[in-house]
Amino acid sequence: MFKYFFIKELKETLRDARFQVMGGLVFILLITATLVGYRGFDQLQQMRKQAQQQVRQEWVGQGNKHPHSAAHYGHMAFKPKPTLSFMDFGLDSFTGMVVYMEAHKQNDILYSQAQDSTSLIRFGEMTIAFVLQMLMPLLIIFLVFASITREREGGTLKMMVSQGVSTRKILLYKISSYSFITLLLFLPAFLIASTLLFRQSHTALQTHLTGKFFTLLSAYWAYFMIFIVLSVLISAFSKTSRMALVQLLGVWIFFCILMPKATANIADNLYTAPAKYEFDDVIKKKVEAGIDGHNPSDKRFEALKQQTLKKYGVDSIAKLPINFSGLAMQVGEEYTDQVYDQEFKKVQQVFKSQNRVSEVAGLINPLLAIRQVSMGLAGTDYHHHVKFATEAENYRRKMVKMANNDMMVNHKPGIAYKDYKVGRGFWESLPPFQYKMASLNEIVQQNLWGIAALLVWFLGGFALILYRSSSISIV
């Protein structure tokens, strides 16, 4: 029975000029987006990889010098493009791509692509995600809006029901037919994508690549199903095809054009992040006066001095068996780190709360849900950005600590700064910067709202079909 439905729908669809144009277009765009997106990704990935290697070579080959001078010279961390990011650029064009890591201070992650672009960048980038999130729903709407109304207007719905096919069955058959047709459209692009992906998997940065890829695939499939079910439902409950189309287009405009912007803007007004200068001021103040405001830096220094002298049982710094400057610097560094962590967490919390608004709004708008899940799996969402920032900062601390420790232990008092030097072996003992992407498990946990929203939409749609299909008017 389903076979007849499917063949009928497929034939009708393929014969439909509108579908030929729209479907053909989406198909071509999808292939273009895959190839072009991959090219863009590859270009950036190569560039950053090379730059990272170059910086490493410069670090290792910096010659003999004092470890603290080397910590000032520092290191740079480039944000690698995650392997799956060619499918969804996500926030990558709007976040910085490199951070300079040096002694004493935490630098910003700099140079976003968007800053070097015209307002064009605000109109979006052609990626698989763009086509699937924005255009595919529209195609589905065009495909499905008349699915029930046409049968009713032509009298075939009455005929089917009179032959003993329940309306519920009709709806379910329609839904499955369309889901197959949609699958036919987007599967080729995914096949190309997977070839591109697994061809280079030996160098892949991302862990759980296969798992992420297939989770992404099923998330998008669920997203399409939501639109198919929604369209069939609206078609079933509309009097005319025209009404169904108008309503569905209204839904699309609301979901894809109006709401995403409005949500992000409202969230931004709800939770305010500090300006950069405010952030810097607070850090400076807290480092100087102490985190609680009662522990100024000179007092902290004095206390450390007394404590160290007592520990080694001597009465002056010159008699210490260790280099006190190295120790003081490391202790100071750790204090600053504490302050920085505290403030940075606050900012992150503000942004996470802002983003939470969009996440929860996924329950109203499936686009917001899939957008979040897709970015997360592609490794281009805010969580990944924070992860990169944190790992770069940890690496900086490792580097600085290594330099300070060496200075403390090996740079004996009495030797001038310019006379104490370490060389290549020491530089090499700092492992190269490597950034591990979040695991599939972590991503799922970070995107629970998005996944839940997709599930609610998906199951809610089917529940409506099951419980309300009997109330559809047949004539």
Partner: protein, 440 residues
Amino acid sequence: MKKLLLIYKFEWKNLIANRIMVLIFLLLILSGLYSIYYGQTEIKKQTTHIGYLKQQEKVRLDTILYRMKADTSFKANKAAFQRAQNPAQLNRFVKAYAINPPSPMASLSLGQRDLQPYYVRLDATGFHQQMNTSEIKNPLKLFTGNFDLAFVFIYLFPLVIILLTYDIYSAEKEQGTLPLLASQPLKVSQVMWIKVSFRLLTILGLGLLLTLLGVVLNGISIAHNLGKISQWMAIISAYTLFWFALMYGIMALRKSSAFNAITGLGAYLMFTLVFPALLNIFINIQAPPPAKNEMTNLIRTRSSKQWGNPKSWVFKDFYLKYPQYNDGDTLNFYKWLYAGYTITDEKAQEVNGQFHRQIQKREALGKQWLWITPAVLAQEKLNQVAQTGHRAQQQYLQKAQAFHAQLRDFYYPRIFKNKKVTIEEVNKIPRYSTQEVKRN
């Protein structure tokens, strides 16, 4: 003329009798009002920050004056007094903000203002070194963009235009009223023209209304910004006309309502979503954004060499280029520090020139292809009027650099000639003037 008014009257009655259309218009006006409110809050945040920064700048100058006037017979005061007099230390303490204040129309089209820095803290040390900061911004917010009035015009107006025009002719045909219409003394094509012109005037009127609301609610002075406001209206009108012309062309094919609606929407999709997205990636592949990390690398390498080499390493280059500062001193710490800043900054300037050329190449590519998408074209023009686009940012950065040169001209002669800064001279320290921006 009488007939024209008669048809307009009936069209108007038709329009307000149609509940859905009235609802859509209300929604459009509400979106417009929200966008005005939103643009206002964004710009207000920026002006509050700017106000605070200006005040901070003043506080610092006052502190300097206070320290210079203080009784130096106290030990603590004396040290502060000496620091205040030393040009090298004074420079680091004062710092000035080069500020890009929002232009009067900025809140209507926020453009790149949320993406780009609008204040930089500057002193006479290396310019490019001081530019390496970024604002704390939620990338998701930057990604979704702003719900400003320009967005309402560029994304929402075309949708309403499509809705208003797709069935002007076809509905008469589909309802069977076409023969009736044809039997009237007016030609069918004339009636169609009048109907289209009625809708055009309605939309243009709405555009004018929203613009005026935006102007009034933001307290933008009409008298001072008449030129800007009329430019804005001209862009909106041209963009609206484009969509009407397109829909008229589709109508002229005399196909069904469904065909018109889908073709119109297809065009909308192409112009506002597909073409811009394709163009974006095309530009990125043809002329990728400059690898600005080279700047960071240059600065850190130079700085490491400066500290790792004897002082003469810097002075050799510096005195050759700036013989006016050469008094044979190759030991002074501050002279050595500031000489190094200048030499590094000059090298950085060369690298920056390369970046600039690459960015210009990107801009040129964009300009060359922008005509394929009127939506982006209109956005660019609106940003130009509001002075919130990429170009305005470049101009601001140039101004900031010119200001930095002023700072250098003030401090460097004093540092290299071993002069103290006197209390009278504190008022001569260059301050960034935003006046010129307003006049433009």
